[in-house]
Subunit: 304 residues, 2 copies
């Protein structure tokens, strides 16, 4: 029973994390997975500019990992609940053959309206906050080297087991993604964005969600994205098609863009301009100058 | 995004239904399972006297049953959403090895406080609304005869495939449990109950939840329960220890009991008096007259 009488809007979001689909037992500790499970759900709230309110957890565990997994997972999950101010208020447990995690979070927007995917209009700039492509690169390394990380509960230990700072950072982004609650809340509270989404399927695929719900088209600046990709040593295709980084992708009108340039706080990750909304069908055009070509996202669809 | 500004309290509940733990594909159609999945969740709201508000669905499906299962399940689930006035407002989908269903429902209480498990006090009567033991008997028949019910979408068809009205009724209670929203709401709105729970683990086990949260003890009337068991042709142990009937178990003070006797609506299932709350540790005493003996529930604990 909750009593959110102070909130204008209540936001609900639910996500599944399934063993051998979304994670492997060998590549993460239960503790890290507990943290990630809450974070990826809260990222949906971040994308609406909301504040976390409460969380519910449905957990299916096989007999063979009951005690060990449950203890570590719940410790990570509850630490994250505490640090993100989203107390665990209910849930359900079951046996099952594979680990399956179902988290539902509830968030609130204190003033104004939550940021939706449907608010982009022609003339808006497109911005990215956070990394794109790192989590997928980290997963590539896990797939190539198959390390046993099932007991790794600190970043220091993870660094020891990875060959370089660069790979460590990518694996860390896969296991413990950083979510952008502060940036999302700032944009919502200052009315500094017109539409927003978190990048869980891939930058291009998630941008397409905004375009479809806003009935607009987008130009993506190839030169901005190429420099980003080069600086991060990630291919452009990976930047555009990697999910699970939980970056924020948002659009801002010219007035909102001025507000961001003048007032965006220094302690939050910098928004990178990557394109512009134009009139047209919901398609992405990638290019520079006068030359733009249609770009089809390679995003992952569980039910394709 | 929901905006329940009319509601004093918002109630959240989440439940898991896992293939081969909670159901078998062969013994139910996806359509019936879709209906049951929403009902068992709404039963938690019924137990607080709440009105359904919205539902979220997390669904994991194996490749081999994707289209067929998805269509039937969602048809049943959405029909039930419509008839119970709980629109599906969000969810998540994933592949996986076994079917796994995670439903989260949100309900509201319009006036007063929701009914909790913690309000029972010595002197209260204990009542049961709905059946106890039928769902488990139906499951016993499924286990004994292993019928293929995977395409049965009507009660008429189910009747054809069961050998008697009696078995039909029990199997139907297992596949399509009746939940007691109307009775729960009446008790909450008339302030006619002091504590309430729905029977999902077993009558005795769930009564114990009330006793523990209310710090009281209970006498169960053996003669009342024996007549109930005899009338229904179910053993007393099964009446006391079968889950999944989603009956309501509630306590009522002497004043509330008078209100029920005088005003309880004729169109709702009749509350059956089965015991009384007394002072003491949270244990169940079963008997009659002067002779009561401790009764330990055999309720099912997924994590025992």
């Amino acid at each position: 029973v909750i009593a959110p009488s102070f909130a204008r809007s209540l936001l609900l979001s639910t996500d599944l994390l399934i063993e051998d689909i979304h994670f492997r037992r060998r590549w993460t500790s239960p503790y890290f997975l507990g943290k990630k499970s809450l974070r990826v759900n809260l990222s949906d709230l971040a994308a609406m500019g909301a504040h976390p309110y409460v969380a519910l957890l449905g957990l299916v565990l096989p007999e063979d990992c009951l005690d060990h997994f449950f203890e570590g997972f719940l410790r990570g999950f509850l630490e994250e609940c505490a640090s993100k101010d989203a107390p665990l208020v209910g849930g359900d447990l079951s046996r099952g053959e594979k680990i399956s995690i179902s988290v539902t979070v509830c968030g609130t927007v204190r003033n104004g309206e939550p940021l939706l995917r449907s608010g982009a209009t022609p003339g808006d700039e497109i911005f990215l906050i956070g990394e794109s492509g790192f989590s997928r690169s980290g997963l590539d390394w896990l797939e190539r080297t198959d390390p046993d990380l099932s007991r790794v509960e600190t970043e220091a230990k993870l660094r020891e087991l990875t060959p370089s700072d660069c790979i460590f950072h990518r694996v860390r982004m896969h296991l413990l993604p950083e979510i952008q609650l502060g940036a999302g809340q700032w944009l919502q509270e200052r009315n500094a964005a017109s539409a927003m989404i978190d990048v869980s399927d891939g930058l291009a695929a998630d941008l397409l969600h905004i375009l479809e719900e806003s009935s607009v088209s987008a130009l993506l600046y190839r030169d901005h994205l190429d420099s980003y990709a080069m600086e991060k040593a990630i291919s452009l295709d990976k930047v555009l098609n990697s999910g699970e980084d939980y970056a924020l992708l948002f659009t801002a009108s010219p007035n909102q863009t001025v507000k961001i340039r003048n007032h965006y706080p220094r302690n939050l990750p910098v928004p990178l301009s990557i394109g512009r909304i134009i009139e047209g069908d919901p398609v992405i055009l990638l290019g520079a100058g006068e030359k733009y070509e249609p770009y089809r996202p390679l995003g992952y669809d569980h039910f394709r």
